[in-house]
């Protein structure tokens, strides 16, 4: 094995290990998706096909609920794509944190670039530049846990899917908890205005707009003030 491929393998394995904390959030969510899909009268193979081919958490729940409501295919497709439009911001942001251009890894890296994989990568990027193949490891680890979680939901979910018990309620907090932990890990004191503006505008937008639109507004508004935040401190250092 050449030095280059051996190094790629070790970066890939490090990415897979980093995806373990992400899997803790993904498996319960994917489990819920499997249960919800069956409750929406989809066949098990259809639930699995959505997770294997689309691989986009929230958009999958929306897709299933629209199908269950008898919405037409074109409307459901439009809703899924609109919900995922925020992903167009992730690629350039991640590319700016890579050690080199992703090249041949681009398709695999892009396939795994979900909200949570992006958040995990950007949290790590506050400490170091990222090898592209590390990000591929994170994305594929996330994909594996998502598909496995859906399979568990499809196989076991009918009997365990009740949402009001302690387990169901704990599962509902897994994703917020994962995001809070990722923010806690990536937090830099100098950037609190960026975080504050983002949180405030997301919250305000939620009062009048759908969640995926509010998220885009919060993301962009916080990022827009970044060049003017922490400038003096950086200049001094």
């Amino acid at each position: 094995m050449s030095e280059d491929s051996s190094s790629s393998l070790s970066h890939f394995m490090a990415g897979l290990r980093a995806s373990a904390s992400l899997a803790i959030g993904y498996v319960p969510m994917a489990f819920s998706f499997g249960v919800v899909a069956l409750q929406a009268n989809l066949a098990p193979w259809q639930a699995m096909a959505i997770s294997i081919i689309v691989f986009a958490g929230a958009a999958q729940f929306v897709l299933v609920s629209l199908l269950a409501a008898g919405t037409g295919g074109l409307t459901a497709l439009t809703a899924v794509l609109l919900l995922n439009v925020r992903h167009v911001f992730y690629g350039p942001a991640l590319a700016a944190q890579l050690t080199r251009k992703p090249g041949r890894w681009s398709p695999l890296l892009a396939f795994g670039l979900t909200d949570e994989a992006f958040a995990t990568a950007m949290s790590e990027a506050t400490r170091r530049k990222l090898p592209p193949v590390w990000c591929v490891g994170v994305g594929l680890g996330a994909y594996g846990s998502w598909v496995a979680g859906t399979a568990l939901g499809v196989m076991l979910g009918a009997g365990l899917g009740g949402g009001d018990g302690v387990v169901g309620q704990a599962l509902s907090f897994v994703l917020p908890a994962l995001f809070i932990a990722l923010l806690g890990q990536a937090f830099q004191r100098a950037l609190w205005p960026v975080i504050g503006v983002s949180a405030m505008l997301t919250g305000l937008s939620l009062l009048w707009l759908p969640g995926h639109v509010a998220m885009i507004i919060g993301m962009i508004s916080g990022a827009l003030i970044r060049p003017w935040v922490g400038v003096n401190r950086e200049a001094r250092s």
């Binding site: 794509l81 590319a95 892009a110 908890a177 806690g184």
Partner: protein, 107 residues
Amino acid sequence: MSFITLILLAGAGTFLMRFVPLVTGSGLSQRPSRLTLMLSALGLTAITALIVLSLYGLWQPQQPVGSTLRLVAGSVSVLVALRISGHVGVATLVGAVVYGLTGLTVG
């Protein structure tokens, strides 16, 4: 539109929205600028927006005090567990357990 066609189109569209900007935006890493600073902040702002979005989805207007207390308890326990353990996965699990258990007492 058949189910399989719908899923294939949804998968292809989602993939292209991730792939095209990644490839076309790759050159930005070589050009430090105001734009690069903004892009680097998108990670933090995306996580922040996702937190607000997911907590908002769990807040129950019919039980404003109880659900707020539970969300605060869950969130604080995540940060405390992260401080103590330094591990994102452990902190996530602790937060979920605390949130689930507080449902027995608070709301």
